[in-house]
Amino acid sequence: MLSTAPSMLSTAVNLAGSTPAQLLPARELMAFTLASHILLVPFGVALPFVTLIMHYRGLRRGDPVAMQLARRWSAVMAVQFAIGIVTGTVLSFEFGLLWPGMMGRWGDVFGLGFGVEAWAFFLEAIMIAIYLYGWRRLRPWTHFWLAVPLPLAALMGAFGIIAANSWMNTPQGFSLDAHGNPTDVDVRKAVFTPIFGPEYWHFVVAMFLTAGYVVAGVYAVGWLRGRRDRYHKLGFTVPFTVAAILTPIQFFLGDSAARSVFHKQPVKFAALEIVWKTDTHVPEYVFGRLHSDGTISGGIKIPQLDSILAGFRPDTKVTGLTSVPAANRPNAAQATLVHFCFDAMATIGSVLILLALWYAWIWWRHRDLKANRWFFRCAAVAGVACLFTVECGWIATEVGRQPWIVYNHMRVSEAVTHTRAGGIWTMLGVVIALYIAVFGSFLAIVLKMRTRWRVADEAAAGAAAVLDPEADTPYGPRHEVDTAAAGAPSGGGRGAGPSEGRPGGDH
């Protein structure tokens, strides 16, 4: 295989020594498009699940409020899924446009995960189409059951992507021939790499957690604005409960993922914890900055703790960044960034546990959500904090792997395209402008949907109270919608709030 590869390898070797000019824009472009896409991923993976729970509740108990929420969430899902598809397609293109060197040499070793992902994604697209467009005509339970495999397909899709990413972090399942090209590919080993399990579960749970907190946060804001009806209570409770249950689980998963990094990618772990020299009794720095001479400024130093966290004993030996030549490890600035992200993730994760406990306590003590404003304020912010944490976790994974694109086997600079830097900078500019427009419009539309729903619910509430919709809605052209709303069952509850926002929708 790869009869032409030796020539490519020589190009790669020539490149290895220097940093090509197009490397920076290529990395920025990849980072920007991934950072944007990843904000939608929690909803792509987990919003169907949360919606189905609500849908089930609505069908099972004949609850019109739950059905209303499920319908509205799926209306948001329709737009969000479409934006997720296009931003995801861009990433597939970028593998070839930006990193042809990696795909050319390693595509057949680690690409199979993407194959799984592509088919899973296809299933997802099919089922989501049926679900989103099946509300009106399909029989209610048929409609529900046709969508039940949806979360499973989402999990399969995540499987493929994380298999590929974890392979980049802990590559295996091949041997190298005399030219340094991969041979003897063992697909099973290449898919199930050492870091795969910890990374996968940590990622998947993060997605469900984030989607839960963001959706709940939207209703928390409504609650804070005085909309304390059943609609808001239900819209808050269901997703928040899902997220709150997962929070402590995620804490352990994250901890075990960090320990896996310690064992499988010691230099990355050194960057996560800014450990300069290999040593025992290593202190833990909470935040802080690493300088290129190995000194650390700022941050809170806790003696021994890093060793204890890594191996449960103060005399655990922790590998330092200087264990490998400077060219083979993240530089000080990268390590500082990675460390900041890692600590931010751990801190927010810990605070979320407190929030989950608070929630449990409120339920245990009062059996109801009392009007505790501070709890709802925290809950409202939790979603945004989670999205921030997702970005942090991803930066920690990706920047911590630098300068490698395939850990210890290929540098990012060897994989990058030969296209001139100017061309990639231009593309970056175009893509940034494009994404700002697309995400801005997306947000505007979701907010507009929210307003429409709130206005309609307030009109319905007014109608129920006054029995005269005209008196209570001094709004523009009268639509059949308003009459429909006014005539809807009163189970719809009083004024709906800033429902169904998406990332940062309301906060």
């Binding site: 070839g96 697209a125 296209t419 309609a456 523009g476």
Partner: protein
């Protein structure tokens, strides 16, 4: 095994040409539908016909990419290096198209709908053009391993003709499908509207093909020879026959099978290209055997594909069936109980 995966790739490209093509075609007619008032019903039909299945139609593209880089990594690298700019433009077009379409639907304000609609429609034109020109660049033999990104790889007679053919073929598919959709939604006036356009688009395909015949003789000689003899020729003849049958069905207003025959027309043309290019991935420098990835991976890729066919096949049949039975309808404002706001329809 490499041959099997190469054929899977050709079939998936054909599926994308048909599924995605129908979609791009709808966008093409959206572009030509005229002003907001005149084009209102046309755009309404396009929206309703496309909405449930456009995502599914466009996922084929992701398969094409995955099969390329997993099955034939060297070819993937060569294509994405040499054809950098058209692929960038196709990627940007994909974003604009998807976003434009997805965002137009929930917008109420006319000015906004216009902007999103224009973005969607223009992108529906440029994306198939550049994807077609990429195919033309490969077929003309201008891409080899290590070919740098230069304009002549995609700005050459074969690429330009392939790009234009892609637009014409998608317009043809789109119009044929919209005829059926118009019947399904009971919009009888639009049946004839799109019937005429389907015939015109087919005419454009024929004209472009006739121009391409002499032009590509020297410009893309390997594939030209493959398409004018043996199985390649057989596929081309079959494709032409199905094209003519489609025209006959349209003329006779026998719309029941016209969609199937139009899909066969395009799919067979792609298969003809597959036959014509044998045994090369990149004519005439990289063969399927040389460009294939690791044998073990290809075997697994085959298994994954097989499982997927078993899983996705029924789903795909179900969604298309539900769609053609008009079981799939978007949620309306009444369903989610959304109110009108001041400024709507302005």
């Amino acid at each position: 095994m490499a041959d099997v995966i190469a054929w899977v790739l050709v079939v998936v490209v054909a599926a994308y040409a048909c599924g995605g093509g129908t979609d791009y075609g709808a966008g093409f007619w959206d572009l030509l539908a005229g002003g907001a008032e005149r084009g209102k019903r046309v755009r309404w039909l396009i929206d309703h016909a496309m909405a449930p299945v456009w995502e599914v139609n466009n996922v084929w593209l992701i398969f094409v990419l995955v099969l390329m880089w997993t099955g034939f990594p060297v070819m993937f690298q060569a294509v994405f290096t040499a054809l950098w700019l058209p692929l960038v433009l196709a990627a940007v077009g994909t974003v604009l198209r998807g976003a434009g379409f997805a965002l137009r639907k929930p917008s109420r304000r006319l000015a906004r709908r216009r902007v999103y609609g224009a973005v969607f429609a223009v992108a529906s034109l440029i994306t198939p053009y550049f994807l077609g020109s990429v195919l033309g660049g490969v077929a003309s033999g201008r891409v080899a391993v290590g070919t740098p990104a230069t304009a002549h790889v995609w700005a050459n007679p074969t690429s330009i003709l392939a790009g234009l053919l892609a637009i014409a073929a998608t317009a043809f598919l789109g119009a044929v499908f919209l005829v059926a959709d118009a019947r399904r939604f009971g919009a009888d006036d639009l049946v004839d509207y799109f019937r005429l356009r389907a015939l015109l688009a087919f005419g454009a395909v024929v004209v472009l093909a006739l121009i391409a015949l002499p032009v590509t003789h020297h410009d893309a000689s390997y594939v030209w020879h493959g398409m004018t003899r043996g199985l390649g020729l057989l596929m081309m003849i079959l494709s032409a026959c199905f094209g003519l049958v489609t025209v006959a069905l349209l003329v006779l207003r026998a719309h029941r099978w016209s969609r199937h025959t139009s899909v066969a027309t395009v799919a067979l043309a792609i298969l003809a290209w597959g036959f014509a290019q044998r045994p090369y991935l990149l004519p005439t420098t990289l063969t399927v055997a040389d460009g294939a990835g690791a044998a073990h991976t290809l075997a697994w890729l085959g298994i994954v594909t097989l499982i997927a066919v078993v899983l996705v096949g029924p789903g795909l049949v179900l969604v298309y069936w539900l769609d053609t039975q008009s079981e799939l309808e978007p949620l309306t404002d009444a369903d989610t109980r959304a109110a009108g706001l001041p400024g709507d329809n302005v």
